[in-house]
Amino acid sequence: MSEAALAVAGLDKRFGAVHALAGVDLAVAAAEFVVVLGPTGAGKTTLLRTIAGLERPDAGTIRLFGKDAAALAPAERDVALVFQNFSLYPGRTVRENLAFPLRAPGRGLATGEIAERVAWAAKLLKIERLLDRPARQLSGGEMQRVAIGRAIVRRPRLFLMDEPLSNLDAKLREELRIELRELARSLGTPVLWVTHDQAEALSMADRVVVLAEGRVLQDAPPEDVYLRPASPRVARLLGTPPMNIVEVRREGGWWVSADGTRIVEAPAGSPERATIGFRPEHVDPDGGATEGTIEVLEDLGPARILVARWA
């Protein structure tokens, strides 16, 4: 494999008594889309800010394209950070907002080059018709498109996205999820995307890094994280509704629950006690030995969820 775009090792960061990052390892390969998934307070934002150079780690290393980032100022890291709470210049037009990062001193881009890049980004994000509108007249979704446009025009080598869709309406979130995933692929720029939304993580990621309390709980492709969770904690974080988890003991070749209900046959040589987990979609309500009563039935359109109680 070619050199990683980003390699983080043993990253540690404390804020007073809060251990925000407790030894985080992760890597993003060239053109890879990696999603860090975790609940509020997991350390996701601190992780991004540390990589961007806005926070200094207490321990650990960050390598960007093979270089130790400790020696690089934020501006030299050539990464673009997009926030949940995007900020635009409200009185300026979309065009001016997009051009702004390119006019920064030291960039030395010709006027023609700037116009070209603005037009390119506007086309990719489908905001061409908005170019001459003041930012304050835009809807929330349009503003976030412009904010992402501002990150793209610079053509950074790595995108760091901090819950960029969280403030948007559900419908818009779903549309942008699909659009931005395709955009990342066509640009070929690696992305580290942070979210608490598992649908975003599963549907967008090449690889999901599950983070909780500053630690990586699992780092694997979405299918593995979902179907082969590393721990009951990960199992419960994913899936709507989440994985069913039952404490069982072995009895006469079966796994049985605390009330004696047979759940599933226990393979030979299984331990005496175990915690078993199974996804709702792998339960067949019309067959099998486990009896129960349906308590709640939720029709969600494409799927129907039954909440059943056994015994």
Partner: protein, 355 residues
């Protein structure tokens, strides 16, 4: 007679914006009604007019048969819930839950009794002396719910109460809220832009756009039988697939030919020939070597229990719901067929459902 009636309710802002353009709605006692629509559709303004927080430009609000249009909020007996999250960190759970009663100047004994009742219902008894930060996220939510429910008004009005919660907490909260509402039988009007919440909570969903009601129906009705293209797109995640094309009569049967696709699709209904939009849900489409639609996979989005393949072809772009194990690579050529019973037809001009 209905419990809450909105009669030609309209609101025009001083700058001329018509936020709500004549809404008629009748809500039965004990019903859970969700106003669903994107930002700016007028759902929150409608809710605020029911509460008395905005004065309608025209139209009436009737509560229990009484015209309350000109009554102040305090005389309408409604409970307005904004967001469930914000607990006072310096107050105990008990004080947090009692807070709305304190504001309503309820005597201390009654207050204690009311808090004890709601705490028992939500299993919060042992937590009453604790502070919010000592509780787990789930317990904090139950406290917030208890606080919202400690008063029992004639009508609950809720404005995106789950908006700020993490996605995985929202489902839990929906379940709790619905169970409580069913038990208490308090008529509820709930505003959200999130169709998933609407599907889970509502007896009836009211889909709004640009200040107007587009459709009122049970969650499954608005999902399966959308009245307009807007409703078809807005419900579902991803929304309904829509193909532009034409209905024709060919060899005695009605067929649909999509723009840019060669093979005709036989329609299960008799439809008038002419330009038409064909709609179908992603779960009504499947990969099928013999299928009439040919395209390429542009995105394979895994969703845990299933995956959505986004396919592009001469017909445009559609999403196909497939089994979780049917992994696909971008660029893969596929053919797709559609379950005939799930086909819906819309008028190209008006966007209204025709069959």
């Amino acid at each position: 007679m209905s419990f809450l009636t909105l009669d030609g309710l309209a609101k025009t802002w001083p700058d001329g914006t018509r936020a709500v353009r004549g809404v008629d709605l009748a809500i039965q006692a004990g019903e859970f009604v969700v106003l669903l629509g994107p930002s700016g559709c007028g759902k929150t303004t409608t809710l605020r007019m029911i509460a008395g927080l905005e004065t309608p430009t025209s139209g009436r609000v009737l509560l229990g048969g009484l015209d309350v249009t000109s009554l102040p909020p305090s005389r309408r007996d409604v409970g307005f819930v904004f967001q469930f999250y914000a607990l006072y960190p310096h107050l105990s759970v008990e004080e947090n839950v009692a807070f709305p009663l304190l504001c309503a100047r309820m005597p201390k004994d009654e207050r204690r009794a009311a808090v004890a009742r709601v705490a028992a219902r939500l299993g919060l008894g042992p937590l009453l002396p604790r502070r919010p930060r000592e509780l787990s996220g789930g317990d904090q939510q139950r406290v917030a719910l208890a606080r919202a429910m400690v008063r029992k008004p004639a009508l609950w009005l809720m404005d995106e109460p789950l908006g700020t919660l993490d996605a995985d907490r929202r489902g839990e909260m929906c379940e709790l809220l619905r169970a409580q509402q069913l038990e208490q039988k308090v008529t509820t009007v709930y505003v959200t832009h999130d169709q998933d919440e609407a599907m889970r909570l509502a007896d009836r969903v009211v889909v709004m756009s640009e200040g107007e009601i587009l459709q009122v129906g049970s969650p499954l009705e608005v999902y399966d039988e959308p009245a307009t293209l807007f409703v078809a797109r807005f419900l579902g995640s991803p929304g309904m697939n829509l193909l532009e094309g034409e209905v024709r009569r060919e060899r005695g049967v009605a067929v649909f030919r999509s723009r840019g696709s060669t093979e005709p699709m036989r329609l299960p209904v008799l439809a008038a020939p002419g330009p038409t939009v064909l709609g179908f849900r992603p779960e009504a489409a499947r990969l099928d070597l013999e299928g009439p639609l040919a395209g390429r996979v542009v995105l394979d989005a895994f969703h845990g229990a299933c995956r959505y393949l986004h396919v592009e072809g001469g017909f445009g772009r559609i999403a196909v719901r497939e089994t979780a194990t049917r992994k696909s690579a971008a660029g893969e050529s596929v053919r797709i067929s559609i379950e005939p019973a799930a086909m819906r037809l819309f008028d190209t001009e008006t966007g209204r459902r025709v069959a």
